[in-house]
C-alpha cells in the first residue's frame, strides 16, 4: 500500500495533446496472398501434423457452416451463425494452445471447438436441441459448451465472458496450473463495459489470459467506424498494461505465431495479452440477417479474395503436404459425415420434461418440485398440446 505513481516523470511547459497518431500498432503477417511467406518472416512452430489438423478443421467448419445455413433455409433448424472468412482467427489461435487451456468463446468460434475434437454428432445434438445435447436443449443453436474439451458454454450476452476469463485465469494462477485462458470477442462486444473491467483487472492481477479480438468489421449492421473512433481495439491494451499485438486474422500462420508467443507470456510470466485479429465477416451476421441492407457486394468480394482457407491451402501445397485431389476428397468426407450426423440428430427426441427443472439449482427446491408436479398433471390432461413431452411424462 501507498502511492507508487511517478508524477514527475516527463514534464513539459506547453500543452501538447496526444492522440492516436502517437501510437503506431503494426500488423503481423507471415503469408502473402499467394501462399508464400515473406522472405524475412519468422514462422510459428508447426509440423505437418499440426498444419494438416488446422487445415482439416478449416474444411470441416466450412462444410458445417454451409450445411447448417442450408438447413436453416430449409426450416430444419431455427437459427445458425457461420464463421466464414474468419476461420484462421479462432482455429489458428486455438492451435497454439494446450488442450487443457480454457476457451471462452463469444459465439462465432465453432472452429476452435472443432479443433479440440467436438464431434459432428455433438454439434448436431446441440443444434437440434435434442436430449443428447450436452446443454440439455436449453440454449439456441451454436451455444456450444464442453467441459471435457475445456470450452466454456457460450452465453449470448456480449462481453460477459471477458471478466470471467480474468477470474478463471486468476484461479489457474492461484492453483499454479501451467495453463491459460483464451477469450474470444468481437470488436462490437469490445464496446461493452465488461471489456474494460476485464482487461483492466487482468493487467492489475497479472493473470494468464489471452484476450483475442476478432475485428471483423461489423457488429450486425454496425460498421467498425461507428463502433469506435480510435485505431481499432489494440491500442486499448496498452492503456491497461497488457502486451498487445495486431495480426492479419486471415493469415493462419501469423495468428498461430502470435498466439504461441502470447501463450508463453501468459503462462510463463503471467503477462496478460491482447491480440487483435483483423478479418472480415464474409457471411451474414446470423441466419436472421441480410447484409445486403448495409454493405455492398464489392466489399465482400474484396475480402472473399483474401480467403484464409485458400491462402493456407496454397502454402500447404507449396510444402507438398496437400493436393487439390486431397482437398476435394476431404471436403466430400466432411459433407457426408455432417449429413449423416444431422439426419441422426434430427431423430433424437427432445429432452425430457425433467430437464426443464433440473440445474436451476444443484437440487430441486420445493417450489420447482411443485411446479413440475403441476405441469406433469397438466400435460397428462392435454397430451396433444405438448407433444414433445406428453408421451413420456409417466416414464420419467
Amino acid at each position: 500500500m501507498s502511492d507508487k505513481r511517478l508524477t514527475d516523470a516527463h514534464i513539459v511547459h506547453d500543452s501538447v495533446f496526444v492522440d492516436a497518431s502517437a501510437l503506431q500498432i503494426p500488423t503481423l503477417r507471415i503469408l502473402q496472398e499467394d501462399g508464400t511467406p515473406y522472405s524475412d518472416a519468422v514462422l510459428p512452430v508447426l509440423d505437418k501434423t499440426l498444419a494438416l489438423k488446422i487445415y482439416d478443421t478449416f474444411l470441416f467448419i466450412r462444410a458445417l457452416d454451409e450445411r447448417m445455413l442450408a438447413s436453416q433455409r430449409q426450416g430444419r433448424i431455427s437459427f445458425y451463425m457461420t464463421e466464414t472468412g474468419e476461420e484462421a482467427a479462432d482455429i489458428g489461435s486455438t492451435a497454439a494452445l494446450q488442450d487443457d487451456d480454457m476457451i471462452m468463446a463469444q459465439y462465432r468460434e465453432q472452429g476452435a471447438l472443432a479443433f479440440r475434437g467436438f464431434t459432428p454428432d455433438q454439434f448436431m445434438n446441440q443444434i437440434f436441441s435434442n436430449e443428447q445435447d450436452l446443454g440439455k436443449g436449453r440454449q439456441m443453436p451454436i451455444h456450444y459448451g464442453s467441459r471435457q474439451l475445456h470450452y466454456m458454454t457460450v452465453s449470448s450476452p456480449l462481453g460477459t465472458q471477458l471478466p470471467q476469463a480474468t477470474g478463471y485465469a486468476f484461479a489457474l494462477k492461484a492453483q499454479q496450473k501451467p495453463n491459460c485462458v483464451i477469450c474470444y470477442f468481437g470488436e462490437g462486444a469490445a464496446s461493452e463495459g465488461d471489456f474494460h473491467a476485464a482487461l483492466n483487472m487482468a493487467g492489475v492481477f497479472k493473470v494468464p489470459v489471452i484476450f483475442f479480438c476478432r475485428n471483423n468489421g461489423y457488429a450486425i449492421s454496425t460498421p467498425a467506424h461507428e463502433q469506435y473512433a480510435g485505431d481499432g481495439i489494440a491500442p486499448r491494451g496498452i492503456g491497461y498494461g497488457l502486451k498487445t499485438l495486431r495480426v492479419d486474422g486471415n493469415d493462419v500462420l501469423a495468428v498461430l505465431k502470435a498466439t504461441q508467443e502470447a501463450r508463453k507470456l501468459a503462462v510463463e510470466q503471467h503477462q496478460p495479452v491482447l491480440i487483435e485479429a483483423m478479418t472480415y465477416r464474409l457471411g451474414a451476421h446470423s441466419s436472421s440477417d441480410d447484409p445486403s441492407g448495409y454493405r455492398n457486394k464489392s466489399e465482400e468480394d474484396t475480402w472473399r479474395a483474401k480467403c484464409p482457407v485458400m491462402r493456407f491451402k496454397k502454402w500447404l501445397i507449396h510444402q507438398d503436404w496437400w493436393t487439390e485431389a486431397d482437398d476435394e476428397q476431404r471436403k466430400q468426407q466432411h459433407r457426408d459425415q455432417i449429413m449423416t450426423a444431422m439426419k441422426k440428430a434430427e431423430k433424437v427426441p427432445a429432452p425430457p420434461l425433467r430437464d426443464l427443472f433440473t440445474d436451476v439449482y444443484d437440487q430441486l427446491p420445493w417450489h420447482l418440485q411443485e411446479q413440475q408436479q403441476a405441469l406433469i398433471e397438466h400435460i397428462r390432461k392435454y397430451p396433444q398440446a405438448y407433444s414433445k413431452t406428453a408421451g413420456r411424462v409417466d416414464h420419467e
Binding site: 450486425i220 454496425t222 440477417d289 426443464l356 436451476v360 417450489h367
Partner: protein
C-alpha cells in the same frame, strides 16, 4: 385507418413523435440505416437524418447513460435496447439514475424526456437470452413508468403517450406479435392514457388480467371457459407502474375471482404485486384465492418452451380451479 402490424404501428408512432418534436432522437444498436434488427426504426434515418436517428456503439449501459444525458439537457431521448434480455447492463443507469434523477435534484434536473423501447418475451425460439420478460424488476423502482401494449392500435397510442410523458418510461414490446398482430390503426396522432387499464371484455364470473402478448392466452382461455358457461371479464393492464388498481379491484369486487397471467417466472413476478394488492382491496369479495398462471421459476428454455409457457390451457385450468374452489 390503416392495416398495420405491431412493428409498423411502432414505426409510425416514432415517425410522428420525431415529426412533431424536433428534439426527439432515436438511437440504439443497429437502429440507424438498418432500421433495427426487427426494423422498428426503418426509414427514420432516411427521413430525419443521421443526426436524429443513429447507431450507437454496442453498450447498453452506455446507451442509457447517454440517453440520460440527452434527456437531462432537455431533448427527447428514445433509446432502443435490442432485446429486453440485454437491458441488464443498463440496470444501474435506469434504476439508480433515470428513476431518481428528478427526486434527488429537488426537481432541478430530470430525465422525463427519456423513453426506452425494448422487445420482450418468448415465442421466437429465443431461449434464455432472447425471450425474457423482465418487467417486474422495474416495477420495484419508484420513478419509472412501465408500459406494455397488446396490439398495433394500442402500441401506437401508448408509445406516443410514453414518449411525451414527462417521466422516464420503459416501453416493452411483445416481439412475438411484431408481425403476427395486425389490425386497424388510426392514421392520426393520438395518445392512449398511461396508468389506466382497459376492460377489453366484460364478464361476470371471474376476472382475468394480463398484458402484452399474454392477452391472447387469456382471451383463448375465456373462450374455452365460455363453452362451460363461465363468463370471464378480461382486463389489459397496459401500464404496470403506476398500475390501475382501481379498475381491477372494481372488476374483482364484481366477479369475486381473479386469475393473473404473465410470462415471467412466478416468484416476485408482477402478478405477486397484483395479488397482494387485490387480496387487500377486495378481501371480503373474494370467493376463491387469486391464482397466478405464469412462466416457470426457471430460465427461459428452448426445446420445451411450449411446456414453459403460461398458455390458454393452463389459464383455462386455473379458471376451473377458481370456479370450483
Amino acid at each position: 385507418m390503416s392495416k398495420m402490424n405491431l412493428l409498423q404501428a411502432i414505426n409510425n408512432a416514432l415517425d410522428i413523435a420525431m415529426s412533431t418534436d424536433p428534439s426527439a432522437l432515436c438511437f440504439g444498436e443497429d437502429v440507424g440505416h438498418f432500421g433495427g434488427v426487427f426494423r422498428a426504426t426503418s426509414h427514420l434515418q432516411e427521413k430525419f437524418g443521421k443526426a436524429r436517428c443513429f447507431n450507437t456503439p454496442l453498450t447498453e449501459q452506455g446507451i442509457l447513460g447517454f440517453a440520460n444525458g440527452i434527456a437531462a439537457q432537455g431533448m427527447t431521448a428514445i433509446a432502443e435496447i435490442q432485446f429486453a434480455d440485454y437491458i441488464f447492463p443498463a440496470f444501474d443507469q435506469i434504476v439508480n439514475e433515470s428513476a431518481k434523477f428528478r427526486y434527488r435534484s429537488g426537481n432541478q434536473f430530470d430525465v422525463g424526456g427519456l423513453t426506452i423501447r425494448t422487445p420482450y418475451g418468448g415465442g421466437i425460439n429465443g431461449a434464455h437470452y432472447h425471450s425474457q420478460s423482465p418487467e417486474a424488476y422495474f416495477t420495484h423502482t419508484p420513478g419509472l413508468k412501465i408500459v406494455v401494449p397488446r396490439n398495433p392500435e394500442q402500441a401506437k397510442g401508448l408509445l406516443l403517450a410514453s414518449i411525451r410523458d414527462p417521466n422516464p418510461v420503459i416501453f416493452f414490446e411483445p416481439k412475438k406479435l411484431y408481425r403476427a398482430a395486425v389490425g386497424e390503426v388510426p392514421d392520426e396522432d393520438y395518445q392512449l392514457p398511461l396508468g389506466q387499464a382497459e376492460v377489453v371484455r366484460e364478464g361476470s364470473d371471474i376476472t382475468l388480467v394480463a398484458w402484452g402478448a399474454q392477452m391472447e392466452a387469456i382471451e383463448q382461455a375465456a373462450q374455452l371457459a365460455e363453452k362451460d358457461g363461465i363468463s370471464c371479464e378480461l382486463i389489459d393492464l397496459r401500464s404496470l407502474l403506476p398500475w390501475d388498481r382501481d379498475t381491477l379491484a372494481h372488476s374483482v369486487r364484481k366477479t369475486g375471482r381473479l386469475i393473473i397471467n404473465h410470462e415471467a417466472p412466478k416468484t416476485s413476478g408482477f402478478g405477486a404485486e397484483i395479488a397482494a394488492s387485490i387480496q387487500e382491496a377486495c378481501f371480503l369479495h373474494l370467493e376463491s384465492p387469486i391464482l397466478r398462471v405464469t412462466g416457470l421459476d426457471t430460465p427461459f428454455p428452448l426445446a420445451l418452451e411450449k411446456e414453459y409457457m403460461p398458455d390458454h390451457l393452463k389459464t383455462y385450468e386455473a379458471i376451473l380451479a377458481s370456479m370450483n374452489y
